[in-house]
């Protein structure tokens, strides 16, 4: 089918100028990072065990957080979009709170709730002896806390924009509400689910404040790449830059692959 093109002709100069400025704001720091990268020592710096440990942990925890965000965030988005109940707007406001809350505050709040002395954490600890802080589960929880709102927001927007008639049609064909969700709603918004998943993953990969506050910093257990960058920054700037470079490379690679696979159709 022939695509209908937009208006033709050169792009307005004003728009171009602002776009270039916008791109520069984002790209210049990356250029700075590359300029300061100690290329000759890169192999040696990246070969340090702390780097490998942090990389492995970052990948595990960011993907785990994205996965948990999907399992819990998708139903949450559905409830917010498809049901009516008292306090729904309030719940929606709170769900997006971690996006504006300083992550360190989020980490502290997690400690107050789920720490060994936390409102919920204390009875769990007393009963089972299990404490979330200073464990890899703590990292995943902190990552999920900051990442899930991105997924919920993306998916809820998609749900609010879908054509309800396909869902209605499925219902008249005998499908229960759960079956409609599984077999019609979810497939219908699949691109937005993937977009939300990627956003959540990216946010989790870069997470620092909530993680270090809630889960601490221990190489091999809770020290993710951003934490490794932070502790190296004071003592070994070159190592910090090298680790930052890994973060940039992983993020760009994953975003490029996903973009080409799922969003390049427009």
């Amino acid at each position: 089918m022939a695509e209908l093109g937009g208006p033709k002709g050169p792009a307005p100069k004003g728009l171009i100028a602002l776009a270039v400025l916008g791109a520069a704001v984002i790209l210049l720091p990356i250029v700075g990072l590359l300029a300061r990268t100690p290329w000759s020592r890169l192999g040696e710096l990246l070969g340090k065990p702390i780097v490998g440990d942090a990389l492995r942990l970052s990948l595990i925890t960011s993907f785990a957080a994205a996965g948990i965000s999907l399992c819990l965030g998708l139903p949450l988005a559905w409830i917010l979009s498809r049901t009516r109940f008292w306090g729904r707007s309030l719940l929606r406001a709170f769900v997006t709170l971690p996006m504006v809350l300083p992550p360190v505050v989020g980490g502290a709040a997690l400690l107050f709730a789920l720490g060994r002395r936390g409102v919920v954490g204390e009875p769990i600890y007393d009963l089972t002896g299990f404490a979330l802080p200073f464990s890899v589960w703590g990292v995943i929880l902190a990552n999920t806390f900051v990442a899930m709102p991105f997924l919920v927001l993306t998916i809820e927007a998609a749900l609010n924009n879908t054509d309800h008639r396909q869902e209605a049609a499925a219902a008249t064909l005998g499908a229960s509400r759960l079956a409609v969700f599984n077999r019609v709603t979810v497939p219908m918004i699949r691109p937005s689910i993937l977009a939300g998943l990627v956003l959540a993953w990216a946010r989790a990969l870069g997470e620092f404040g909530a993680t270090i506050t809630f889960a601490g910093n221990l190489s091999g257990r809770t020290q993710t790449l951003p934490l490794a960058v932070f502790v190296s920054l004071e003592a070994d700037r070159d190592a910090a830059i090298a680790i930052s470079l890994i973060l940039v490379v992983i993020s760009v690679a994953v975003l490029l692959i996903l973009r080409n696979r799922w969003w390049s159709t427009q």
Binding site: Q166, A171, G174, R183
Partner: protein, 357 residues
């Protein structure tokens, strides 16, 4: 009380914008009813209420003796359990599923396994000539193909009642006629009650056994096409009935009609095959005796009734063809037109238009 079959519905509700709906509908099994009305008359709301997508506030809905909805006793069966098939205006096919899986959706929802539901769907893909398209994504279909898939999907769920919301509105003029014929055949294949919604009088007259005219949330007139045409109850129906519809086959300008052995001549000699014939009432000329000259079409007819519409009088003709003719009140007087009288009818060939049916 013996088993009551068919649909008995009385729908009363008010939408949040203040629109009130108060409609009574009875449809016998094996017959096609049509809700005909202008946009905004509340037709889709009525269908939504029947399907359970919109709650009614008063009245009740009974299908084959089973109460589906009755607020007075607190019964409101949810849509999946109503066994009412609803075909949406632009079909609302599941774009992410194949044609086969769209059709298998109903059987699958009824609890069949994936393979068993596909087997059930196979019967319908065959019946609707969709075997070649079975594996294609539903988002990649033409309008006509989509309509067949939607119909097959609806029927495969084994409903007790089917509702078709503007089944032809999404199609272009070229395919409309063919698909209306196919739809008409497919409707015959379903032996429960059938309800079609449309704002196109031609569709209503051609597809339905019984027509319910709907205006502003109420049914203003019900009857067969002929009854409604003979005595329109409102101005809207009057305007609808003002157009004469006939069906037949044409070959090189010569039309053989279905409902009479009168042969009409049209100046359109390029269209051949099944057609809808439309004639404006003002194009009919009435004469006391056989007209002079050679109008291509003339015959002697019997007057069923005469109605004074103010500056124009409408003369309803009976055998051999049910047509309406608009004449001036002066000529009614001059010709002394009255019911039961015989009169000569003449229509120019250029006034008879045909379109493929």
């Amino acid at each position: 009380m013996s088993e009551v079959s068919g649909l008995q519905a009385s729908i009363q509700l008010q939408r949040s914008n203040g629109f009130k709906l108060d409609v009574e509908l009875n449809i016998a099994a094996g017959t096609t009813a049509c809700l005909l009305g202008p946009n905004g008359a509340g037709k889709s709301t009525a269908v939504g209420a029947l399907a359970g997508l919109i709650n009614i506030e008063g009245g009740s809905i009974r299908l084959n003796g089973r109460t589906l909805n009755d607020p007075s006793v607190g019964i409101a069966i949810p849509p999946p359990d109503r066994k009412i098939g609803l075909m949406f205006q632009d079909y609302a096919l599941f774009g992410h599923l194949s044609v086969e899986d769209n059709i298998a959706f109903g059987p699958r929802s009824a609890g069949l396994s994936k393979s068993a539901s596909r087997l059930a769907a196979a019967e319908w893909t065959h019946k609707f000539d969709l075997i070649d398209l079975a594996g294609r994504k539903a988002s990649d279909l033409s309008g006509g193909q989509a309509q067949r898939v939607a119909m097959a999907r609806t029927l495969a769920a084994n409903p007790d009642l089917i509702l078709l919301d503007e089944p032809l509105a999404a199609l272009d003029v070229g395919t409309k006629a063919t698909l209306r014929r196919i739809l008409s055949t497919n409707l015959e294949a379903f032996d429960g009650p059938r309800l079609i919604i449309t704002h196109e009088p031609a569709e209503a007259f051609l597809l339905a056994d019984r027509i319910h005219i709907m205006e502003n949330g109420r049914i203003t007139q019900s009857g067969t096409a002929a009854e409604i045409r003979r005595s329109p109850a409102t101005a809207y129906v009057g305007a609808l009935a003002g157009t004469n519809f006939l069906t037949g086959s044409t070959f090189r300008g010569s039309i053989t009609l279905d409902e009479s052995n009168v042969v009409l001549k049209t100046s359109d000699t390029t269209t051949d095959g099944r057609v809808i014939v439309t004639v404006r009432p003002s194009a009919l000329a009435l004469h006391p005796s056989q007209p002079d000259g050679s109008p291509r079409n003339s015959w002697q007819a019997k007057i069923a009734s005469v109605e004074n519409l103010g500056d124009v009088a409408r003369v309803y003709l009976d055998a051999p063809l049910p047509l309406a003719a608009d004449v001036t009140p002066g000529s009614v007087e001059q010709l002394g037109l009255s019911a039961g009288q015989s009169i000569w009818v003449a229509i120019k060939a250029t006034e008879i238009s045909v379109s493929p049916a």
